[in-house]
Symmetry: D2
Subunit: 142 residues, 4 copies
Amino acid sequence: MLDMSEFANAIFYSQPFSNFLGAELDQVGKDSAQISVAIREELRQQHGFAHGGVISYLADNSLTFAGGLALGGDALTAEFKINYVRPARGKRLIARASTLSAGSRQAVCQSLIYSVNDDGVESLCAAALGTIVAAPANPARE
Amino acid sequence: MLDMSEFANAIFYSQPFSNFLGAELDQVGKDSAQISVAIREELRQQHGFAHGGVISYLADNSLTFAGGLALGGDALTAEFKINYVRPARGKRLIARASTLSAGSRQAVCQSLIYSVNDDGVESLCAAALGTIVAAPANPARE
Amino acid sequence: MLDMSEFANAIFYSQPFSNFLGAELDQVGKDSAQISVAIREELRQQHGFAHGGVISYLADNSLTFAGGLALGGDALTAEFKINYVRPARGKRLIARASTLSAGSRQAVCQSLIYSVNDDGVESLCAAALGTIVAAPANPARE
Amino acid sequence: MLDMSEFANAIFYSQPFSNFLGAELDQVGKDSAQISVAIREELRQQHGFAHGGVISYLADNSLTFAGGLALGGDALTAEFKINYVRPARGKRLIARASTLSAGSRQAVCQSLIYSVNDDGVESLCAAALGTIVAAPANPARE
């Protein structure tokens, strides 16, 4: 049987872009995932907040992993929507994604993205909702 | 009078994240913008395609600039939705954003993101739709 | 002080379209709302399920009321996204909307829409996420 | 060979909800569709504009038909996002949907919804973007 946690970690750390950003796959569940990244200088926009593109990366990737875990293998984000609710200040961003509904080939997942300040206090900075589909290599597709 | 092209360029190249990715603001119009980036190794996912997070960055940022130009100043993406329609192969990604409707404080914009192969042929790889709001510093807010 | 429950009910039942569909505002909280409707013949699509347009009405309107309650008055849905996760069978649809984040003029809300079968068992049939803004007449806008 | 125009009309007018609203399938193309509806009293919200739920019905259904035509048969809207850009005044609403990209089982489509005043002048009142999937009965699924 496939150890899904090991599988998810192997995929995550083979993503050059995730490594480039310094993102980490903190935790995986049977249909959920948590990804985080330190807000270092390179990840900011012109006003010093984390760039929306970093937050949308966290949304996209956390949704993919939550959905992939629910679908039992490699998966792709087909689409998602994100609402930014507050500028992302602080030292770290954490995205927590979970699965609302999963069929055999497709899952609908949501992700809440928080910024964490120096005292460890979390503030919601974005919410996302999207569709994850089993990748061609996923056994669910056969 | 503010030269909006100069203003947009000044903001874009003061975004650490855009510089980190190597993105370029290719072109701005009165309510449109084009941003592109070379798909170098660091921007890929596990299968060698451009990572969805890079594409969502292009969607987010091109929408912000198209909307900001329509609103006449600094702006923020309040929310957007993106559909990935094809894996992003090739050497470069180009996002072309335009404004569907603009009021005094808010604009609704769309962006089409293309991958470009070695022969310069473009393929649509994602489509996005979102809301841009004038930033607190934007004269439209006063 | 405005009784928000009375206010919400007055607005809801003055919506000709809500009355036309036979929808009911079941419950309101300080930043949440529940709306439901019986799936009668007129609300179906070609395969006998509730039409997606009925479900999107429930999403739209439940988001508006949850956000309006959070914003303390009349409000509009600026945008939303909906994922249909399962055909809507059964006798009734229930939309439960809550507020994820609210500022002074704008709220981000989500809604989960369930179908209810003859035994009263609920199944998730759609999920929505959207932005609600205070209407011009809302005191929050002044 | 299936006459897609006849097929689309047969499906549309077998939708009880479309008939209930008084909607009409004005036009179909190889991957596009136009649906419209008169803004009669029953379709309004509390301020006299067309209810957002009517507009979201038009978005949903026009996307389904544009995508179904592109996919060559019966189809379902899997998800969509809608931005309301202006209150819908006037006598009629028109939704024009087209296909941005279509594979064998799935299409990404957009719809622009206009209100039409007494002089026949159209104003954009909403824009939508969504995913249409081939229904189980669609030959594309086999």
